[in-house]
Symmetry: C2
Subunit: 205 residues, 2 copies
DNA sequence: GTCTATAAATTGATAGAC
DNA sequence: GTCTATCAATTTATAGAC
């Protein structure tokens, strides 16, 4: 019973902390706000996680892991690479659009931390980029795509998908006079745009 | 004399504030740290700028304006569009590489602020996107490039240049085992990569 | 496990002397 | 203009009752 309740609380805290940290950043987040959102007392935060630093670490690992795996996992099977990429772009743009603060949060906090922190998170997260490399190499060997640099390729895809969304608050104003609907259309159109770019660059002559 | 000294102090404050705010973010920056870096007393900060908020506003406008104009100004003259783009990519990647925190700072803070703040900054900054639109349209009319969407085009260029640098701390570890030199080579190579992508997408059949 | 009370440290801001 | 001293508010963290 008690344990059951405890687990519940721990989850509620993590859920609340996630929301606050992601939105406000580590230094902008307040323990009080997290406690309020979790519907508990501030002291309980320290009971479950010794300090703000430790709570942040837990949250960051959780968020990063989930996000990173969503990227990596797509490049597995023996599916057609063009289908995989098309699906990836479609899913990914929608995913970030729904959680626009997540990429910002990750990039932002990673820029503030020492290398050791980042390395540790990556290690614990257990993401494995080799699956992706092999997937690309296999397709090159089969002559399905040109012999492109897989590193440049993945960065191209991520850049073209992520940047328009994290920079939305400025770009929407400058390009579309802050018309939200217009920018949403722009992002929909963007799926085709990114697809075309990537396909053009990798398809054999 | 007094005025001369005053000006000097104000500049020193702005310079220090810029460095701290850009690196630590608004909520992470400390007035004490800014004062220390400027070599003055904390009270003087409040003497020149009434509050942290006002100091931040001044710094943000300054940083954003400088950065935005560097982007816009390149698309002016009657120069060849392919040359302009090539030069832009080359300059821009180097510029961000030297100041990797600036784009993050801008994107980050703009995501935290209300639309009114962003609109105000853009208005005061006086950036004018029309110059760019006209430049592209002229080149389309002349048949120098395909009839691409100028909005997608500029976002493509910026995405491909900025993202690999702001995400460097993660990507360098995942793709290059945290080998700094290797990633620098990657970024140099990237200039060619981005150029090729953009050229391929806009050059007439 | 959860709460109240409170400590201890930090931080933005002001008053007032020079 | 610049500094010292200090306030007032915030914020992380702990002690201790239940």
């Amino acid at each position: 019973m008690r344990e059951k309740l405890s687990e519940n609380t721990e989850e509620k805290i993590l859920e609340a902390a996630k929301e606050i940290f992601v939105r406000e950043g580590k230094s902008g987040a307040r323990m009080q706000e997290i406690a309020d959102k979790a519907g508990i007392n501030k002291s309980l935060l320290h009971y479950y996680y010794r300090s703000k630093e430790k709570l942040f670490y837990t949250v960051f690992k959780f968020v990063f892991s989930k996000f990173a795996h969503k990227i990596i996992n797509l490049f597995d099977a023996d599916k057609d690479i063009f289908e995989v990429i098309e699906q990836f772009i479609d899913n990914y743009i929608d995913l970030i659009r729904k959680n626009p603060f997540i990429p910002m949060f990750i990039i932002n906090e990673i820029n503030r931390k020492e290398t050791s922190f980042v390395t540790e998170v990556i290690r614990e997260t257990g993401i494995n980029i080799d699956t992706y490399f092999e997937f690309i190499q296999r397709n090159i060997d089969l002559g399905k795509i040109k012999a492109v640099d897989p590193k440049q390729l993945i960065i191209n895809i991520l850049s073209l998908c992520i940047f328009p969304i994290i920079s939305r608050p400025i770009v929407q104003i400058i390009l579309y006079d802050d018309n939200k609907n217009a920018y949403d259309k722009f992002l929909d159109q963007r799926k085709k745009e990114v697809n075309e770019i990537i396909f053009t660059m990798i398809k054999p002559n």
